[in-house]
């Protein structure tokens, strides 16, 4: 499966507030794209427009086009719910469903949608997703226990398993390691390398080393001042961004001189 994401002139608004201005970029299939930049510059907001999650916030809307597999997800008649089955998401803080067991958490994408699965199908999906998230060996003996009993890093991998269980084409990750310790972070980064064989991955991170470790391409977002919209300053291969960026602001940011 090759899924290309093509954003064309995307603007995002929260009511009257113009949050992100004029973002255009192409994310190639089976690559990891990282978004870096100071806080409040619209990285997360733009990430959420890729599966229309920004619409959960009242008053938020986006203009422009985002093409996934050459289909504009903002075309009239497109159901955001269908977009989200195609584009999975992992959040900043691990958020397994507290009422569900580990197994039910992995199956949440099916169960919550009322899909009937046979016992063997369910077991296959759970094992495949948990193996995919490098969590299978740790939890295979306690699949019936609550997911909230796992450690933070395990919970985050459980959330990744939950997202990949429904077999999306794209996986969005919103600072997936910011609440985790270095060991768990390493586990997730290894996982991202494996997942990119199957998925197109977009990751927002505040950790520039992480961006260099996991991503193929990097986009630097910046903001001119308070109340002004964030915009994409530079988008290029990760190597270029971190070694020889075109823009002066990018250079100062990646070398740690501001932000």
């Amino acid at each position: 499966m090759s899924t290309r994401i093509d954003a064309r002139n995307v603007d995002v608004y929260y009511g009257d507030f113009h949050a992100v201005e004029g973002v255009s970029l192409v994310m190639e299939p089976r690559t990891v794209t990282a978004f870096i930049g100071p806080s409040g510059c619209g990285k997360t907001t733009f990430l959420r427009t890729i599966n229309r999650m920004h619409e959960v916030i009242p008053g938020a809307y986006a203009t422009g086009e985002i093409l996934i597999n050459d289909q504009n997800i903002y075309a009239t008649g497109v159901d955001p719910v269908d977009v989200r089955t195609m584009v999975g998401m992992v959040f900043q803080r691990p958020n397994p469903f507290p009422t569900m067991s580990i197994k039910d958490n992995v199956l949440a994408g099916y169960k919550l949608n009322g899909k009937k699965l046979s016992a063997s199908q369910a077991d296959d999906i759970v094992e495949k997703a948990l193996r995919g998230a490098n969590l299978w060996t740790e939890v295979k003996d306690r699949l019936g226990l609550p997911g909230s009993g796992l450690s933070g890093g395990q919970q985050q991998r459980l959330c990744i398993a939950r997202a990949i269980a429904v077999e999306p084409d794209v996986l969005l990750m919103d600072e997936p390691c910011s609440a985790l310790d270095p060991i768990s972070t390493l586990a997730i980064e290894d996982l991202i390398h494996e997942l990119k064989e199957t998925f197109t991955i977009v990751i927002v991170t505040h950790n520039m080393q992480q961006a260099t470790r996991v991503s193929d391409k990097t986009g630097f977002f910046n903001i001119q001042g308070v109340g002004l919209p964030g915009h994409l300053v530079e988008f290029d291969t990760t190597e270029k961004i971190f070694s020889n960026p075109r823009d002066e602001a990018t250079e100062r940011y990646v070398s740690g001189q501001f932000g």
């Binding site: 719910v81 469903f97 009422t99 609550p146």
Partner: protein, 382 residues
């Protein structure tokens, strides 16, 4: 304390008082001894002819003075005042506990005799006449009659009221939390719910009675038909709905938004997210809130009196004929004893019914806590 003085201190037997951690303390038994002495003083004053309440107040003040004086002289001003306030707070707590204990004691001692009446739970008041109560009061015949009709009535009316108010309350709070855009409409609902919370229960009863009577009048039937269990249940719903809306709203609001987002991100539709993620997460709070609302209305008297009337026979059908409930039964037995010249047996029945009512309400509270514990999201599974 200057540096020089500090250095001059060579003898360990005379440490600087501001640098000593361990300070003087009073023995543990002292406060109990003082309290015991105060109780003794109260007893002596009572025996000496003082009213018991006055004796207790005087000895409490004596206790406060003695305890504070000892504390201040032995421990210093700050700890002494701390002890004074502790004693005042504990005294206020005991004072607040007094009516509760008194009520429980009275109801239990008198109520136990009531529920010992043979057939108290299995029979109603049909055929119980003043003559029989008079004979029973003279000791010539056993006391008969029971609360079966009132138990059945309380059960049916509360059940119907719950069936009416839980869906309305639940859906209202789901609208308020999940769907409304915090606009004029939702603020109006919140305001009206607040107003409803303050409606006196008798007004709710009058409203339900007037509404049902109006309905029967408009359809050309006898307004007598409006006096039935359903009308009482509607009156109780008016009291219950705001409580259910308020508690459920609180419970839904504390469900973390992250869980909703996690569900949406899996491509789950909004109504399924609400039904299968939000409500299960909040169910323990919702269920215990509903149970407490039931306990709250189960003890209502006035709205039932004006809507379901008073009955002596058991009636299982809330859609026809008058119904009795426990609070109305108590009220009726006390104000209109079966034998006006010999109210003893009626009072006994009333106390018995009061005990049963308290037990029901306590059981509902217990159930609420059990539900809250049982359905609470599992915190650990390590």
């Amino acid at each position: 304390m200057t540096q020089q003085q500090h250095l001059d201190q060579t003898l360990p037997e005379q440490p600087d008082p501001s640098r000593v951690l361990r300070t003087a303390s009073l023995p543990q038994w002292l406060v109990w001894a003082l309290a015991g002495a105060a109780l003794l003083l109260a007893l002596i004053l009572t025996l000496a002819g003082l009213h018991v309440a006055l004796a207790v107040v005087i000895s409490y003040l004596v206790f406060l003075a003695a305890w504070t004086a000892i504390s201040i002289t032995r421990l210093g001003r700050r700890k002494g005042i701390n002890n004074l306030w502790t004693a005042i707070v504990v005294g206020a707590f005991l004072l607040a506990l007094l009516p509760l204990i008194s009520v429980l004691f009275t109801v239990i001692t008198k109520g136990v005799q009531g529920i010992m009446i043979p057939g108290f739970f299995g029979s109603d008041m049909v055929g119980v006449t003043g003559l029989q109560d008079q004979a029973a009061a003279r000791g010539d015949a056993p006391i008969i009659g029971g609360i079966q009709h009132a138990l059945v009535g309380t059960l049916m009316i509360t059940l119907v009221a719950t069936i009416i108010s839980v869906p309305i309350g639940l859906l209202t709070s789901i609208y308020l939390v999940e769907y409304s855009s915090k606009g004029v409409f939702s603020r109006a609902i919140t305001f009206l719910v607040d107003v409803m919370t303050g409606i006196p229960s008798i007004v709710a009863g009058l409203f339900a009675a007037a509404m049902m009577m109006g309905f029967y009048q408009a359809t050309g039937q006898s307004i007598q038909k409006a006096t039935m269990g359903l009308t009482a249940a509607i009156a109780l719903s008016v009291l219950m709905i705001p409580v259910v809306v308020r508690t459920t709203e609180e419970m839904l609001r504390v469900v973390p938004n992250e869980l909703r987002e996690a569900s949406y991100a899996l491509g789950v539709r909004k109504w399924r997210t609400i039904m299968q993620v939000v409500i299960p997460t909040a169910i323990s709070g919702i269920a215990s809130g509903v149970t407490l609302a039931i306990a709250r209305v189960a003890g209502e008297t006035a709205p039932i009196l004006v809507t379901a009337g008073v009955a002596v026979q058991t009636n299982w059908n809330p859609f026809q004929n008058w119904m009795m409930t426990l609070p109305v039964f108590i009220y009726r037995q006390l104000t209109h004893p079966t034998a006006p010249s010999q109210p003893g047996p009626s009072e006994l029945r009333a106390w018995g019914a009061a005990l049963v009512l308290i037990l029901i309400v306590m059981a509902l509270n217990g159930i609420a806590r059990f539900i809250a514990w049982k359905f609470a999201p599992k915190k650990s599974g390590r």
